[in-house]
């Protein structure tokens, strides 16, 4: 675990050594604020509601593009620059490296999410929101970002090209969103049995995140995100092993 922590620290320091990290945070904050206030009309000339649902609703779509941008360089860059060979010579195992890199990225995404705290202050200043629901919403958002990141990290190990990693990650994550997106489900409802549709929807980020954002933490939501992260990171390790063998 200490080795994982070492990797985590090295990675995190790496983020803040370049302007990339700051640009990422600034874009995330600007977009989430802009979407909430302008597109979601949160304030609505003072007639809005003291909830953050309009804020959390945008998170899956923000993550869809921002998280792959964060994760694309995780392994692709190492491989392109050949630093991965260096990493392999260190006295750490591959799973430790994968986990360390992932946790660093996740922590970083968490920092970006935490920096949206003015929204929480705002809604408490304006009215009397349900803070339990808001807490669950933040937890859900964090878990979802972990899911996106794990997929992105896995995809990044596939290629040396960061652009390909980005596009591929966005595509895969989009599938995980769309399977739970009501308008999409509506299209399929005509020719698939309801049980099948429900089963497919149960593998969507949206299905699990929506429940959390409403204030209900269900064990199956936690299992979903944990197993997804676990699977993606495991696949990530396998891929790296394979590439190493090449």
């Amino acid at each position: 675990m200490r080795k994982v922590f070492t990797i985590l620290k090295r990675e995190l320091a790496g983020y803040f050594a370049t302007p990339v990290a700051y640009v990422f945070i600034v874009i995330f904050l600007l977009l989430s604020g802009f979407f909430t206030f302008q597109l979601g009309d949160f304030y609505n000339d003072g007639n809005g509601q003291a909830t953050l649902s309009g804020f959390f609703n945008w998170h899956p779509w923000l993550y869809l593009f921002l998280i792959p941008a964060l994760s694309m360089r995780l392994w692709a860059e190492e491989r392109k620059q050949g630093t991965i060979e260096l990493l392999m010579t260190l006295p750490i195992t591959l799973p430790q490296a994968v986990l360390g890199k992932f946790l660093a990225a996740w922590l970083f995404a968490g920092v970006a999410l935490a920096l949206t705290f003015p929204m929480w202050i705002t809604v408490n200043y304006l009215g009397d929101p349900d803070n339990g629901t808001i807490a669950a919403g933040f937890l859900g958002s964090l878990l979802m970002s972990g899911g996106f990141l794990a997929i992105g990290s896995c995809v990044s190990a596939l290629t040396k090209n960061q652009v390909i990693a980005f596009v591929l990650s966005v595509s895969i994550c989009l599938v995980f969103l769309m399977t739970g997106f009501t308008p999409v489900i509506g299209i399929f409802s005509g020719w698939l049995p309801a049980a099948v549709i429900e089963a497919i929807a149960s593998f969507s980020f949206l299905t699990h995140f929506d429940g959390l954002a409403k204030g209900l933490i269900e064990a199956r939501d936690l299992v979903f995100f944990a197993s997804l992260i676990g699977l993606a990171l495991y696949a990530n390790t396998l891929l790296l092993e394979l590439k190493k063998a090449d």
Binding site: Y22, G127, S189, G215, A219, L238, E241, A245
Partner: protein
Amino acid sequence: MNKRNLTWVVAGLALVLFFAINIAANITLRPMRLDLTEDKVFTLDEGSKSIAKGLEEPINLYFYLTRSVARNHPDLLEYADRVLGILREYQRASGGSLLLSVIDPEPFSEEEDLAVERGVQGVTLPSGDVLYFGLVGTNATDDSEAIPFFALDPDTQRTLEYDLSKLVWTLAHPNKKRVGILTALPLEGSGGNPMFGQQGEPAWRILEELRAFFEVEVLPTTDADLAKIDVLLVIHPRGFGEETLYQIDQWALAGKPLIVFVDPQCDVDPGASDDPTNPMSRFTAKKDSDMEKLFRAWGFELAKNQVACDRKLGVRQTVRARDGRSQSELPVVFLLQLGEDEASRGDPITRLLGKVGLLTVTPGSLRKLAEGTTTFTPILETSEEAKELDSAQFQFMPEPQQLLASFVPDYKRLTLGARVTGNVQTAFPAGKPGAVEEPMPEEGPADGATEGADDGQTTEKSPGLKDSARPLNLVVFSDADLLHDRWWMREIRIGSSVLVQPISENVDLLKNSIESASGGQDLLGIRTRGKTSRPFERVQEIKRDADQRSLARQEELERELQDAERRLKELQKAKSEGSEELVTAEQRKEEATVREKFLQTRRDLREVRHQLHRDIERLGASLKWLNIGLVPALVCATALLLGGWRAQQRRQR
């Protein structure tokens, strides 16, 4: 198998494992959850759990939802899942007594026909699709209850769990409670007296309302047979004889459900007049009721000849001044509208009230006696701006203006309704009135009153209860008028049919009292859930402040505007009357000044109105910029500072 192939196999297995775990979790882990919402909207209430656990015979629930249609309406689907969630929780809590079937009625199917037959209502949406979203329950004796359609409006959503539990409870308790009423009021209508031009009165509609839920019988006020009833309702006990009071006393000592409405001034009471031939006698007739003797024994009193008045809760009415010319809108201090703030949130009777409010006219004031040993819990109170006024003032057409003008509140809440429990002693220590001579009366005293007491202490021959066999189970209110049609309903005529539309929740107050007192405690213990509206209180505050500030200025400007207008008219009139030559330059100048002032005032008035919204807009804009821009700016600043510092470090090295 080479390493590459093995890796693919392992990866495939991991993927299968992932799907398997999640499908299993979806099925088995549903009960494991943590409800973080403030109102615990996803958790079943204790009352519901207790109803579910107490089911003795199986109850079938059929939940109807046209999922294919609902799927296109996310809000509806979400609500449907919540309903289904509660039903599933219910099913789990019942330990198998409650059987839930989820039915998706396809169009033109047998299931659709059955749904309609059972009382579920299909709603045709603008798209032309028919949506079924209802619930039917049946019990072992084939009674059927239905919620035809789960309406989506927020207020109905709030009482969802109560509605579901009520359906289950009603099926579990198919026998209606029997309610006996002792009253001095003509609840069943009166024949009138055509000789003196008196018209007959129709029966009070409240009886009809109650009969939908209970078996209701208006009992004679002397020698009533209380053996056959479950709940005793005493309404305006004016002039009740000692024997009747003794019956009530015995009933209360047995701990049976008792609900009392007394009134210091009951306007709908025709009154006890000595001379029915004298039309004026109805103005002097006695219209108050009390059960002082019993109340004292139960540890409280009704303030004698006092009416509870309230300045804040007074219903605003347009009142014509005494001279008949001017009229103004002012609160009528003896006609009170009670809302959420006046009803106890903790008591099942009043907990669900408050949406529409209660209307009460000339209520009395209930007080706990210092020496009382019972637990006296107010459930309905006035606001702080209340005062007791002498009831004599209300005997004959009280003047709202005068009452308001001389009204000085005592800044103390007065009790209008209370729940009283605890052990009490009889108000008739000497035994049954009129039977004092016989130490062991042949007939059981107060016939039925004690028969039902199942403690075995009382027998046919017992001399009556001296102390509580079971704790007092009393709910008391200080107004009887509120049960009259006038104060809770209005008739709407559509074609030839007449609909009753409630204007207050007075009937619910009575219904809740009966249900609560007669044992449906679980049902009434269920909370309303989910604060439906969370407005920006800060913005409302700004609005209120702005309103208050601008109102004075607006009035002032409007007065100025009127003055200017009048002055302008006068000048124009003078101009048309007098000859053109007589209009001096000075007059012309004045006209121009007034005209200018007129326009200026209008501009100012507009400005005042605009100012109202500007503060709100400004707050919105500031919050927007703070949220979108502040933290990113800080992050940028940090990055620049750090970058600069690092560059400097490098140079130094």
